[in-house]
Every structure is written in structure tokens, then in C-alpha cells.
Amino acid sequence: MDYLLIESGGPAEGPGAVRFIADATALAGQGASVALVLIQNGVAGAVAGTMTGLEDFVGRGGQLWIDEFSVRQRALDRGDLISGARVTGMGDLADALLTPGVRAVWH
């Protein structure tokens, strides 16, 4: 993995989240291995039809991870999430963070 990008704000935080996802998509489009993790209010963006750009990110080979704890906190169902999303735990994020050479950003 080259990049670990963590989005905690989601659509409620304004255009910053969309721009962050656009950056992730651009990196994936250049052939980098990118995991985009949606956490806290960020998981709201993974509800189908809520935030633009995530389908494009997945389509370009990006890994879309959705924090399970945050999903449960908001009473979301896996069926609510866009296809291609993988529900993960904090352990997965920790493992990725400990991967040598990975560049991590929390947004």
C-alpha cells in the first residue's frame, strides 16, 4: 500500500471531503495503491447517492474501507453502502498504518 487516506468529516463538513476523495482518486488513477478509510461522520459519504466521487475512486482500483464502529453508531446497514465498500475495523487501519513506507493522512 502506498497511501492510507482517512476521511473523518464526510459530506457534512463541506467541499473538503469531496476534494480529499478527488485527491485519492487521482492517486489511484496514477497507479498508486490507495486505501481510503471513511470514519466518524465520514461514513455518511458511503451511503449510496450521498457523495460524488467514491464510485469513481473504486472504479480506478482504490480500496474503500468503511469503519464498522462508525457504521453501527449511525445505525447504518451494510446494504445502505455503495458497492465496492469494505467494512473494516480499527485493527485494519492500525495494520495499514504500520506498513513500512505507507503515507498516511487523516482529514
Binding site: 462508525s70 485493527g91 492500525a94 498504518l97 504500520l98
Partner: protein, 135 residues
């Protein structure tokens, strides 16, 4: 020049008010997950996050008037227990300037206050770093 700061696998720099979002929950969750993987972790608390470990919090949150039989730990207690339980693998540093600026100068014994100008030592002592939150 980094002799005062032991090496760590990950540096988590945390900023932001404790109750505005779930940021602090995420901080504790991520810290625990890293420690469960035998990683060494340092936390640098800056801005309002310096209040997480201020001594005036005590070890328990104020009583819940709807359920006085239960007690809940303060963030200072959570931090203290994590630090003690992990035998030197978690170090918690507090920005001295931010703490003093917010009236948080009195901190629990388990954390160390450091001058902001020494933050670079913590960065160079860590293999990985993320910044969580904003002031």
C-alpha cells in the same frame, strides 16, 4: 539530537476540542489497536486536546443523575490506564504552551509536558505520523 525522545513506531498528533466530534474516541481506539499489535506509540496532544489529561478532571466523570450507581472514567483516567498497562510502549506528551494557554498546566503524572519548539524531536523519533484533528 533525538536522545530525549525514545523511538516509536507511530506518532499520533491530536488537536481539537474533546467533545466536538468522535475524534477522541478514534484516538483511543486507534491507540489501543496499535498497542495490541505490539507497536510503540507516542501521542502529542496540542491545542484543546491538552485538556484530555489535565489533573482537574479527576479520574471519573461527573455523576450521571439518572444512574448514580455507575461511574465512568474521565479521559485522564483512560490515558493513565493505557500508559500504565502498556509498560513503556505508550508515551503521552502535552504541548506546554497550549496547556498553559488554556489553563491546563496541571497534568496527571503519567504524561510529560514538552515545549512546542521540541516537537520536531518527536517527529524524527517516529517511523510514522498522522495528525488527527485541527485546532
Amino acid at each position: 539530537m533525538t536522545a530525549t525522545v525514545p523511538h516509536s513506531d507511530v506518532l499520533l498528533k491530536v488537536l481539537g476540542a474533546p467533545h466536538r466530534t468522535e475524534l477522541i474516541t478514534s484516538l483511543f481506539r486507534l491507540t489501543e489497536a496499535l498497542l495490541e499489535r505490539d507497536a510503540t506509540v507516542q501521542i502529542w496532544a496540542c491545542g484543546d486536546a491538552t485538556g484530555l489529561t489535565r489533573a482537574s478532571l479527576g479520574m471519573a466523570k461527573p455523576a450521571d443523575v439518572t444512574d448514580r450507581a455507575r461511574t465512568f472514567p474521565s479521559t485522564a483516567a483512560l490515558a493513565r490506564d493505557l500508559i500504565r498497562k502498556n509498560d513503556g510502549r505508550l508515551r503521552w506528551y502535552v504541548c506546554r504552551f497550549c496547556a498553559r494557554d488554556r489553563g491546563h498546566a496541571e497534568q496527571i503524572d503519567e504524561v510529560k509536558t514538552r515545549p512546542a519548539a521540541r516537537f520536531w524531536e518527536h517527529v524524527t523519533a517516529a517511523d510514522q505520523m498522522i495528525v488527527m484533528g485541527v485546532c
